[in-house]
Symmetry: none
Subunit: 457 residues, 2 copies
């Protein structure tokens, strides 16, 4: 039934089994899970998340099967998904799928984890559900296209359907039920970029609501609530109302052969993406040459024009946020502290004289090759002059965290530890247990038991 | 600040006081309240509402300040708004504002009543809040325009903001807070017409979620959560994403001088409003000519484009709900049973062969005059061919229930009694108390106490 791509997608989702999914994709999904878990904890203490917690105390039950990660309280699945969704995008270190410009973890895992706890599901069930949510959500984001993303926050819109799919998979939906759940999720899908202009708090509302509303769609579908059969491609559906370049073929693109889940990128540095290629190249060079920051007298980063446009104006950063757009500061953190993570930014980006001194050694130059390759490829090129008169260079062709240069489990553990340390949402011992839990997720007989063993309460 | 209509609207809302509102508008708001209250009760027992009640039992607290009308249980304001919003549009007898094609009661009163109970407000407070919600929501619906309504269910989208405004008014918001609440509500606004094609249940989801999500926006605003300052008119706001003919001047149209609340129509027939002008015109014609249904061989209804868009897909209704969107079925009930009320739909819309036969005689044609007058005026124009070869026509310029042809309090009481009898949601004695409660709402010191005295529990 090629004229009904939503149904083809639904049939794929209904038939998906753990054994159909390549082991490498399952392992990558555990990677994504740990990365998400730590991101959700990293939002603890932020004003927006405090407000959402108070909202849940007012509106939700004070007990229930599902865990709110930032405060370790339990509530009903809806409210756990709401707060965990809100908190997981707060520090902007959660994963991203480049082609769909969609952050799957922030919406899929909050809904799936809350439902898995409620439904007594295993780690393998949760992994299959997450893969279903990623595969559907990424294709829906690609389907909605660039015209959609210009106005709508795809993570909020496509995310509502992705969350519904993940929960529906945990409920064992057949194709008809997936169609209904997509219908009920799609007709709730929302999220506008207008808030960016005012630096308003809506981003947390978008991810929290997408996770929670998608979960709602699945729960009412299970009880027989019906939805539109072509919410995506129909004449009065999402594409008709919210896109001018939607491509229905993307909804069914190589289902079961292409694993979009494994195309998802991890964010490595806690800075503007335009700084990442040079940061990676400098790190490579310093490790390769065994250099310390004080052995370097000058760094020339060879960049694309977009980097100069965005980063060029930031000469003397005054806030942590500004520092994330300062090429010199980012390279200074890499050189002096070997990392440009959240903690380094908070502690060292502004106050550390060594980082400041290194910042003033860094310049950007437009590079023809780098500029031509962009935006399809983000090439990192640095040239370094040393105190002993050497002129060194290094090149990185795929930024750290992209699928072709993904993070190792050691690097993921390190990133998770840094995220959790940043918000003090868990002790080092608890963090170790969280990491072990993620790496053993495929074997966990019950997600709920596994979660309950993570935290001292 | 004419360049910031959202702010002008917010300043009006912040300044609105009971004494500013004409007594006739207050009285009409009590009429609207009774009509809504009975509509919400009429949804009791429907499958969709049963599912929403089960959802609340699963996700919400089992006690709280706010009343779920269909089952008399209490929960938190969010869940009372959700279920009352879902149930109040179920039988499609709730009010409608023609110019905005917006059903204000179904989203404004569920949110306002739930919050008024929580906040300990008076009947006068509730009436002012409802007027604020109506005035804002109607203008927002008008602002979003016809292009919006072609794809989006305005009651879901504009309704989310209307609900937020009503709750914000109960919370005493200043203009800045109203702007934030509009931002947080607008970025959640959703609802697509695609479900109509499949007779899916989404309409109840739209009204329930609009009421509940608007309430959510107001509660987090009170705690300091910020929203976009131009969610309606901004470059990445609702109009940019969801309309091609938005008119910002409508947002501030004669604020404080024009009372849009009092322009709201009561529904007389139990069907989609788009069928009413033709139903009135056919009823007039048949009474005038003394015609019986079997003397008619063809009916041509001359309609506006919106009627064709919404009703056109419903060719062969399979459910009572779908039948309410079938022009042929509605006219068939009028022709065969002289009424298209709730009872007639339940008993005759699908099973009665005479109604089915009449349905197939009805067609819709786009009429230039009708289309141009819409949505300000809903003109009814029918042409009838009779078995004896006559070609007759009739015109109705103001459908029954419109402000210029409104229902008296006796007619409203009669309609409320019929709605409540239909679902058996209250006894006749309780219904009398509900009616008395509505007519004395302006004098009620505490809405919560008044509500608690209505029902035997």
């Amino acid at each position: 039934m090629s004229s009904h791509p939503s149904r083809v997608l639904s049939e794929f989702l209904a038939g998906l089994r753990y054994d159909d999914i390549p082991a490498s994709v399952i392992a990558r999904t555990e990677d994504l899970y740990l990365d998400w878990f730590a991101s959700a904890l990293a939002g603890k203490g932020a004003r927006q998340i405090d407000i959402m917690e108070r909202y849940v105390e007012k509106m939700g039950p004070s007990s229930g099967p599902s865990t709110i990660l930032v405060n370790r309280k339990n509530s009903s699945p809806y409210f756990a998904a709401l707060v965990n969704g809100a908190s997981s995008h707060l520090v902007e270190q959660d994963d991203v799928h480049n082609g769909s410009v969609f952050h799957p973890a922030a919406v899929v895992f909050p809904a799936a984890l809350a439902a898995a706890q409620d439904l007594g599901k295993s780690g393998a069930d949760l992994l299959v559900a997450a893969v279903a949510g990623y595969e559907a959500g990424i294709r829906i984001g690609e389907f909605l296209g660039r015209s959609h993303y210009r106005i709508f926050h795809t993570t909020g819109t496509a995310g509502t359907l992705a969350a519904a799919v993940a929960v529906g998979k945990l409920m064992g939906f057949n194709a008809d039920q997936f169609l209904h759940a997509l219908g009920s999720a799609g007709t709730q899908a929302a999220g506008l970029w207008e808030f960016l202009r005012d630096a308003a708090d809506s981003k947390q509302l978008h991810t929290g609501k997408a996770a929670a509303d998608g979960l709602l769609a699945a729960y009412i579908t299970r009880d027989g609530f019906t939805g539109a059969q072509r919410i995506l491609e129909g004449a009065q559906g999402m594409a008709a109302g919210m896109s001018t370049d939607a491509d229905p073929a993307r909804l069914t693109d190589r289902l079961g052969a292409r694993w979009a889940t494994a195309e998802t990128s991890f964010k490595f540095h806690a800075s503007c993406r335009h700084t990442h290629p040079a940061a990676d190249a400098l790190q490579l060079l310093m490790q390769r040459e065994g250099l310390q920051h004080d052995q370097i007298v000058a760094v020339n980063t060879r960049v694309h024009q977009g980097a100069i446009d965005v980063l060029g104006p930031v000469v003397n950063p005054q806030t942590v946020h500004q520092a994330k757009f300062s090429m010199g500061t980012v390279l200074g953190l890499i050189a002096v502290h070997q990392s440009a993570g959240l903690g380094e930014f908070e502690q060292h980006a502004l106050q550390d004289g060594k980082v400041g001194a290194f910042r003033d050694k860094v310049r950007m130059t437009l590079d023809e090759e780098v500029n031509t390759a962009y935006p399809a490829r983000w090439l990192g090129r640095v040239e370094v002059d040393t105190v002993d008169g050497r002129h060194l260079s290094a090149a990185v062709d795929v930024p750290k965290g992209d699928p072709d240069n993904t993070l190792s489990r050691d690097e993921l553990e390190d990133k998770a530890q840094r995220l959790i340390r940043f918000s003090r949402a868990a002790t080092p011992q608890e963090t170790d247990r969280i990491i072990a839990h993620a790496w053993q997720l495929h074997a966990a007989p019950a997600v709920n038991d596994a979660l309950n063993n993570l935290f001292a309460r």
